[in-house]
């Protein structure tokens, strides 16, 4: 139903669609992402006025490597929509803060934990980890243990003054 609506008003934007457990997930083409989201936000037929969350997924072995998940909700039509965008490691994604202010912190979190950069973001800093933290913890290649984890404890290494 909603797919037909989108195809009617904006033909050719949906790359792929998945129905899983009665929920619709749509993949959007990267070039037309901003105009698509603007349409969802302001068009009378959709009015997705609540951006619930932005999640990033690291697919690691697949190219493009990352996937961004935008969870939208429309109060007027009482429906939820999951919009997905495939992103590669060097891509810079347009920030959605121009349409929803609630995109601000989730995008910072995606930048912090997965290392995806956003353009036109008002305040793109690390949020959960500290400013000079190295690496992005939610990437699949982030080490689970520190470099000295397996080293044997050497009592001589402790200096007694």
């Amino acid at each position: 139903m909603i797919v037909e609506k989108i195809n009617k008003s904006l033909p050719g934007l949906i790359e792929d669609q998945i129905w899983f457990r009665d929920e619709l997930q749509i993949y959007v083409k990267k070039e037309l992402f901003i105009s698509f989201m603007k349409h969802l936000r302001y068009n009378e037929d959709f009015k997705f006025d609540l951006l619930l969350d932005v999640a990033g997924i690291d697919r690691f072995s697949i190219k493009p490597r990352f996937e961004l998940v935008y969870i939208l909700y429309s109060l007027e039509y009482n429906m939820r929509l999951i919009v997905k965008l495939k992103v590669d490691i060097s891509d810079i994604v347009p920030s959605m803060t121009i349409f929803w202010k609630s995109a601000n912190w989730p995008e910072r979190e995606v930048y912090d934990l997965l290392g995806i950069k956003f353009s036109n973001h008002p305040d793109l800093r690390r949020i959960l980890t500290w400013d000079n933290f190295e690496g992005h913890p939610l990437r699949k290649d982030f080490p689970l243990q520190g470099p000295d984890f397996n080293e044997k404890f050497n009592p001589d290494s402790i200096k007694v003054y």
Binding site: D53, A55, I82, L138
Partner: protein, 390 residues
């Protein structure tokens, strides 16, 4: 050289009125806040990363530690997401007990909010009363699950075990007692002239702006939008119960206070209906892939033994697919986004904590207010840092 007129003041992370470890950097012009910058992450435990390396079942106790003031609600949100991913039906009796547990948890969360919010503003008496009544709910939790604050009582497809007759008695006692207690809270605050002067017209936010900032739960309803997932997208047989969603109109601290005070009564009303109409039947789903066979069955039947061993050692396996499910937490919409990859461990778990968005709206709420009002605004949006930092 021009002298700067503003002062930078650091508030937190160990300030008692920041409800945990929130750090605010405030730019002050005299006593008025010009700009506020929240810094979070002091309680970051990496629950999302830990979850990727545990099986689905082992994550349940981790979710308790998100919003530790209302732990059962987090269990419910997580377990329902996994059930949606695997495709498990939950028996009616288990659903009703889940409703009772989550509404009790909501009352617990509101208790802590009311006590500490009033304490921050200066009404010290309230916290003694709210903690007295919170103790009753903790006793109910203990009777049911053995744990007082973090029950972890929910399992995929139902509950860990059946309820006891004492549980029903305790809940009935609580339902009988609690309206009097709420009247007591109301008589201390609602018409109190100091309370009204400290809260009315403070931290006002319009409905559109609140939506734009992604605020949900009582903080959004205080601005006049009745967005409650229990009503708009009912889950866990919430559509069986009769309750109203209270909304405010001005969207200030006082309205958010009134909305939560009304939610006490509505939650109690739901508990009352659920405990009186409790259906008979099992509390566990009969899906062989997620629910353990009973121990007496194991000693007689080899296939039950194998099944129990498989479930205990490997855990429940989820299919390839991605689901989002959310429940109405005590602070707002608590959502989980799970990516299953065919194994017993989630490929990715994303938590959508309500307080995260509420805190991101703090700079807007605090702007232009006095420093002392910052305390009441932080209290009114009811944040828990365990959930924000995950």
């Amino acid at each position: 050289m021009a002298e700067s007129k503003t002062t930078i003041l650091n508030m937190g992370p160990h300030h008692p009125a920041t409800h945990g470890v929130l750090r605010l950097v405030l730019e002050l012009d005299g006593e008025t806040i010009v700009k506020a910058t929240p810094h979070i992450g002091h309680l970051h435990r990496g629950i999302e990363k830990i979850a990727e390396n545990k099986n689905y079942h082992q994550i349940i106790p981790l979710t308790d530690r998100l919003d530790y003031t209302a732990a059962s609600l987090n269990n419910l949100g997580y377990c329902m997401t996994v059930e949606k991913l695997i495709g498990v039906e939950v028996p009616k009796k288990a659903q009703y007990i889940r409703v009772i547990m989550s509404e009790l948890a909501r009352i617990m969360g509101h208790h802590l909010w009311l006590g500490s919010h009033a304490l921050d503003i200066g009404a010290m008496t309230l916290i003694f009363y709210t903690f007295r009544d919170r103790e009753m709910i903790m006793n109910i939790n203990e009777e049911l699950s053995g744990y007082r604050l973090t029950p972890s009582f929910l399992r995929f497809g139902g509950l860990a075990k059946d309820i006891t007759p004492d549980f029903i008695k305790y809940v009935r006692d609580f339902v009988k007692w609690f309206p009097k207690a709420v009247d007591g809270y109301n008589s201390l605050l609602t018409d109190n002239i100091i309370w009204r002067k400290r809260t009315m017209g403070i931290g006002t936010i319009s409905a559109e702006e609140a939506l734009n900032y992604g605020m949900t739960g009582p903080s959004l309803r205080g601005s006049g939008i009745g967005y409650d997932i229990r009503k708009v997208l009912p889950y866990c047989s919430y559509d069986d119960f009769d309750f109203v969603v209270p909304i405010g109109d001005k969207g200030d601290v006082y309205d958010r206070y009134l909305v939560r005070m009304e939610e006490f009564k509505q939650s109690l009303h739901i508990i009352d209906q659920a405990i009186e109409n409790l259906p008979e039947g099992p509390v566990k789903s009969d899906n062989p892939w997620v629910s353990n066979p009973e121990i007496n069955e194991v000693s007689e039947d080899i296939s039950a033994l194998i099944r129990r061993f498989k479930i205990q050692s490997e855990g429940a396996k989820a299919p390839v697919g991605e689901v989002y499910h959310s429940v109405e937490g005590s602070k707002g919409e608590l959502g989980f986004y799970l990516v299953g990859d065919g194994t017993a461990q989630p490929f990715r778990m994303k938590i959508r904590p309500p307080c995260f968005m509420l805190t991101s709206a703090l700079p807007r709420l605090l702007e232009g207010h006095m420093l002392s009002d910052a305390i009441s605004i932080i209290g009114s949006i009811d944040i828990v840092l365990g959930e924000i930092d995950r």
